[in-house]
């Protein structure tokens, strides 16, 4: 074999050596870089309960915006506005709540609650949702996402979630 003879020649050996050195060096640098970039996929964020107000401060049947902090544990000191997110909270009965993610289920734009007609309107492509989060019109494929809620010691709490469709686990 011509190729075998070439590989085992002095020139062939040195070429292989050069390629291997380059390969090893590239891999040695690539592993930490790829891991660095992929770390958000590997390191999953914990889910924590956030206090959004006292049970008594919410009126029955009313939908209001509540703001809370994500469970971002590492880079929040410079995260500015990105540390927070909003939900639309509705008191169904004493001690019982439903919290809708403000992300429209079509493409994620922030839906806005209009209280008189009791609807959520999406400013991007005009999806409409009713007070219980179900679709009343527009391109949204599914009802609004819901956060888990609970009442503890008279305080209403919401459990944090990733951005919907990136992985909402509760609804």
């Amino acid at each position: 074999m011509n190729l075998t003879r070439k590989v085992f020649s002095r020139e062939g050996f040195l070429t292989l050596l050069l390629l291997s050195v380059g390969g090893v060096a590239s891999v040695a640098y690539a592993i930490p870089i790829v891991a660095f970039v992929l770390s958000p996929l590997i390191k999953q964020e914990p889910k924590v309960w956030r206090d959004v107000g006292g049970d008594s401060s919410f009126k029955l049947g009313e939908t209001v915006q509540v703001n809370f902090k994500y469970a971002d544990q590492f880079n929040s000191s410079w995260a500015g506005p990105t540390q927070y997110t909003a939900a639309w909270l509705r008191k169904l009965s004493p001690g019982k709540y439903v919290a809708f993610a403000s992300y429209c289920t079509h493409l994620g734009c922030p839906v806005h609650w209009v209280s008189a007609p009791q609807i959520f309107l999406c400013p991007c492509h005009g999806s409409v949702f009713t007070a219980d989060g179900s679709v009343a019109g527009g391109p949204a494929p599914r009802p609004l996402f819901r956060y888990l809620t609970r009442v503890r010691n008279g305080r209403v709490e919401i459990r944090t979630e990733p951005q919907p469709t990136v992985g909402f686990t509760t609804a």
């Binding site: 410079w78 500015g80 991007c124 409409v128």
Partner: protein, 488 residues
Amino acid sequence: MNALLGMAEKTYRWLDERLGIGMVTRATLLHPVPRSVNWWYVFGSAVLTLFIFQIVTGMFLAMTYVPSPDHAYASLDYISHHQLFGNVLRGLHYWGASAMVLLIFIHMTAHFLTGSYKYPRELQWITGSILLILTITMAFTGQLLRWNQDAYWAIVVGAEQAARTPFIGTWVAQLLVAGQHVNGATLTQIYAVHIWLVPGAMLTFIGVHLYLVIYKGISEWPVPGKPVDPKTYWAEYQEILHKDGEPFYPVAISKDAIFNLIVIVTVVALAIFVGGQALGLQANPLTPANPKPDWYLIWDFAILASIPPAATPWVIIFFPAVAFGILFVIPLANKGERHFSRRPWAVAIAATAAISTLVLILLGYQEPWKPVLTLNSSGTNVLIPTLPKQDYLSLSLEAQKGAQLMHVEACLSCHKIGNVGGQRGPNLSAVGDRLTADQLTWRILRGGGGMPTYGNVLKPAQLNELVAFLETRSANKPQQAAGPGSSP
């Protein structure tokens, strides 16, 4: 004077001996081009010039811009309003980017229509297509660095779209926002992509693209009835250069120079007189927003609003995949006629693409699908359109209350009366002519066709008030400003 010239020549000789400037410059400037090279060949060099200016303006903007989510907006505000020529510099960068996107499309269309991508310049087209994708990536990430409400929600919407990728969607989306939601690392990652990763890739591909211009030569203007045959083309091309060629310098390059000058003067004028793109309100997920992409992506925004909802997940992924996929398979048809007069399909495809893009951009700015929700100046609240008082002052008390309910119940967000209101639902300016009181009641209570049901929201009295007002809307009554009616 002579001594000075002598010194200059000496210096040049000294440098040339060590750097070989003359050799490289001669090879580039004097490489032969077909004499048929005309004004349709000037766009590529303008794109290159703009790219170089983008790097320069970007570099200087980066000296003040702070790529951190808590200070990015404030630093841009400083650049725009306090730094000397800051808004002009932002304008140069913004208008330069817009011109670059526009001219790339014109450059591509010209070479598509003249079949310049055919043998032996297939890789010229492929590297150009990669550069197009990279440029759009630059335009998109650049818009995000503005770190206003549009930017924040464009990232969210971008992630939502990426999440629809089959199988790996969630990973792609998380990679895009550098986490499981927009967070402290998102903006810095976008910044690094915008100033290092993509420009680095672009420099590489521009290098290959330009090398190919010299190595495979500039294509001659096509002649109808003279198809490309890979077996004979190269010899024919050499013949053209030999018989009817001229050095790139000074004739062909002058056309480039003149067009470049026009482009640069336009960009500079826009930067001075219009300035940078308005900053808008700072990114804030806690206040309402009316997000919208810049013009170079608004056509995609319009597509997603106009297609049937069920098609959305398919269109989000497959439309760009197919559109870009087509770009890469075009040079497979590397033989045959080059002139557009012999390629009706090519002309039809280019015209369809250009017209539909224009229509979609216009549609994207009008947003007929969108309920009208105006933000107040601080961006903290949403305003719903209100009818001017004189429109209903002469009506019965009941109808007057109905007119006010049109605002309170957000009817006017979707319906137009006269000049006020949205285009989402039917125009109600003359609804009294086409629907009876019973029909109006039925529609309001039941909703449907994208309209929510108002049955469990309105009190019976309110319903009557609304119907009483709507019944007065007629094209025949001159005191009411009536727009063109559309069927419900």
